[in-house]
């Protein structure tokens, strides 16, 4: 009897605790926002008083620490604006949180937004036009931003986003491994060479298995390979799907073939989990070559105990990549005082010497032409030529699609590509299905 009441007491206590825990899950995110909201609500409305602005960012790990350090530097450099920076998870998480915060008026004043989501936020009217700020008293030379990085900045004549941590995908090669196999350590230049190299590098079984090549089956790389095959994802105006032709199926066929012959490893995991696996496999020398963002460059160089090379993504009809990364946006719901403070911060973050330093510390590209020509960048490129490849590749780069419905469409495309890779549909059928849904979304 004693024991029974003990069990019941314990159960009640635990189920109460657990109950709280479960309810805290969905509510937890909104609680986060509430605290930020408080910050932005009482942010200095009176002139001359210090303005506090909220800045949400979506870089974790080492790159996140670098962002944090930049914010601290900004806060110490002047007295007018105090920036409260908060890490909100990866691009997907941050996107969801900004959206939820907008609904409850607890949004930040400045946030990073992944470039293919800019159109969705801009179309919803959430983003402030930055043109008046850029041309105003505390303005900046707009011509100095690298033109190739502005493709995801304009929405219906409004300038809504400043390029920030910008990337292109790169081919990373383990030069030691290639040399040992008697291959050109500069890496493959074409799809055929990539496949040939990969076959030579793939060997072993079980724990000792190595692969020549690995890449996350991700929309970003799919876009790259489609461009290389001479295709397009969407039409110029973002209203028509264009990927369901033989140029759109080529990448899927290519990946499927390589996975089947075991010269390419499909990294397990969904979305960024797969990216982490591919990167870890590369630094652990389980795979010889990967595609990943230039933003991982410094991290990979620090971790790898071998000679790391970077190169353009191999060409089919031509070279081709989408640009990637995130832009900085200002939310239109902020007060004029907050907006002025937000602009000062955004401008500061993307100034020439800052963007050069950020590039050097992470691997992301500098966003200003003057930064490229600056002494620190020139000496970095001379010393570590791996850093220059992304910038050189920019001549073959295109923006990511600018369409409000693309966020949803890209999930469908990725899901259909997975279906094909798992051998449950032909590339053409899968893409037709995605295109059918896509056409509805783009209207």
């Amino acid at each position: 009897m004693k024991k029974q009441s003990w069990i019941i007491a314990a159960l009640t206590a635990v189920s109460m605790l657990a109950g709280c825990g479960q309810q805290a899950q969905p509510a937890g995110t909104s609680a986060d926002h509430a605290s930020h909201g408080a910050g932005s609500a009482d942010a200095g409305a009176i002139g001359g008083q210090k303005v506090t602005i909220d800045f949400w960012y979506s870089l974790g790990g080492k790159n996140g620490e670098i962002v944090k350090a930049m914010v601290d530097e900004f806060n110490q450099s002047q007295q007018a604006v105090e920036v409260k920076a908060t890490y909100q998870g990866n691009y997907y998480d941050n996107h969801a949180k900004v959206l939820a915060a907008l609904a409850t008026n607890t949004q930040p004043d400045v946030t990073m937004v992944e470039i293919a989501s800019i159109a969705a936020f801009a179309d919803a009217g959430a983003l402030e036009d930055l043109k008046p700020f850029a041309e105003g008293q505390n303005g900046t030379d707009m011509q100095d931003y690298i033109p190739g990085l502005l493709g995801n900045s304009y929405w219906q004549d409004k300038f809504v986003a400043l390029p920030f941590n910008r990337s292109t995908p790169l081919l990373y090669v383990n030069r030691d491994m290639l040399k040992k196999a008697g291959l050109n350590p500069e890496g493959p230049k074409t799809w055929d060479e990539l496949r040939e190299f990969s076959k030579k590098l793939s060997q072993g079984k079980g724990d000792a298995q190595t692969w020549g090549f690995s890449t996350p089956i991700d929309i970003w790389f799919y876009e790259a390979l489609t461009f290389q095959a001479g295709g397009e994802i969407l039409s110029e105006d973002g209203k028509q799907v264009k990927f369901n032709d033989d140029k759109g199926t080529a990448p899927i066929q290519f990946w499927s073939d390589m996975i089947k012959e075991q010269s390419m490893k499909m990294p397990p995991g969904e979305k960024y989990d797969a990216w982490d696996v591919a990167e870890a496999d590369f630094t652990n020398q389980k795979v010889g070559m990967i595609f990943t963002s230039t933003g991982s460059l410094n991290g990979i160089l620090e971790k790898a105990k071998f000679d790391v090379g970077t190169a353009f993504l191999p060409a089919k009809e031509s070279f081709g990549v989408p640009t990637g990364g995130a832009n900085l946006v200002m939310l239109s719901k902020s007060t004029p005082e907050e907006k002025a403070g937000a602009w000062a911060f955004m401008k500061w973050l993307t100034e020439s010497d800052r963007t050069a330093k950020f590039s050097k510390e992470t691997g992301y590209m500098p966003v200003r032409t003057s930064a490229l020509e600056s002494e620190p960048m020139k000496s970095l490129y001379a010393e570590k030529p791996q850093f220059k490849v992304a910038i050189d590749q920019l001549q073959y780069a295109k923006p990511r699609p600018m369409a409000p419905g693309y966020k949803e469409l890209q999930e469908t495309i990725m899901s259909e590509i997975q279906r094909t890779i798992l051998g449950q549909a032909t590339p053409q059928d899968a893409l037709n299905k995605a295109a059918e849904k896509g056409q509805k979304l783009l209207k």
Binding site: A96, A124, Q418
Partner: protein
């Protein structure tokens, strides 16, 4: 005086009623309202679209898959977690430190945060280097792709769910078993009833209120699965683990379609309501209350 007398119960219940209205009825009402609109959560105007969201929802083949995933997941998790718990409870319902320790051990998953545990399971289920495939290899079975194939991913999530729930269920069952009056068992033993018929005629009927409670609670919580999906699979591969709450989250907070997401939310609300009514009207007749 009379009026005050009449008012008193309302005053006493006011605090909890306020919370109930504010955090239960109001959100539900607002969700139903939103489900008839097209809104991106930002635009000042919520455009009224009638039943359009529901029509779109019912026409979406992904939604059909989401529904069948959710039902499959719920049925499997609940049946396995309940069945296993009953067996474990019958086995562990004795005194002695070994049994107490066992009870504690199976219960422990229940008090750990599902989010952190999902990350651990992700590693255990790694197709290349994961512990589970290593164990399969030891007993001579071929490796499973676990979460990386759409044929197996949902069963992998069921496994995590069962692991999580079975301890709680077991403990509740043990408490239920201990509340069965000893005289009944003694009487059965005096009559030389077989162990089997003692179980069917005494233990199970007397335990039925407990099992019924667990059935209702488990069904509702399984139907609302979210954490493991978000952390471990994000609905993939090929939508094979996309379940209702995650689907709602995706549309509401990633695709800017809160009206559509609300319509799916209403469907979830109605289904859980119906299930609960079904449980109480149909199944509760078979429950033996003392």
């Amino acid at each position: 005086m009379r009026a005050a007398e009449k008012l008193r119960p309302y005053l006493f219940t006011a605090p909890s009623m306020l919370i109930f209205w504010l955090f239960f009825l109001y959100p539900i009402g607002y969700m139903i309202y939103l489900s008839f609109t097209s809104w991106n959560m930002i635009h000042p105007v919520k455009e009224f679209v009638g039943l359009e969201n529901y029509q779109e929802l019912l026409a979406d083949p992904d939604f059909h898959q989401v529904m069948s995933n959710t039902v499959l997941y719920t049925v499997l998790s609940v049946l396995i977690a309940l069945g296993l718990a009953l067996v474990l409870a019958l086995w562990l319902n004795r005194s002695g430190w070994v049994y107490s320790m066992m009870q504690g051990a199976i219960f422990s998953p229940y008090i750990i945060s599902l989010v952190s545990v999902s990350l651990l399971w992700l590693w255990l289920m790694d197709p290349q280097y994961g512990l589970l495939n290593w164990l399969l290899g030891l007993i001579g079975l071929p490796p499973s792709p676990w979460l990386s194939h759409n044929d197996t991913a949902i069963y992998a999530l069921v496994l995590v769910s069962v692991w999580k729930m079975v301890g709680y269920n077991t403990l509740v069952c043990i408490a239920g078993l201990q509340s069965i009056p000893k005289e009944l068992h003694e009487a059965a033993q005096l009559d030389k009833a077989s162990v089997w018929s003692e179980f069917w005629r005494i233990t199970l009927p007397m335990l039925s209120p407990t099992l019924f409670f667990l059935l209702v609670v488990n069904t509702i919580s399984s139907f609302q699965v979210f954490d493991t999906v978000k952390i471990m699979t994000q609905g993939g591969p090929v939508n094979s683990t996309n379940m209702l709450v995650y689907y709602i989250f995706e549309y509401g907070f990633e695709f800017f379609k809160i009206g559509y997401a609300s319509a799916a939310g209403v469907v979830l609300f109605v289904l859980i309501g119906l299930m609960t009514v079904f449980h109480f009207l149909i199944l509760s007749r078979r429950v033996h209350y003392r």
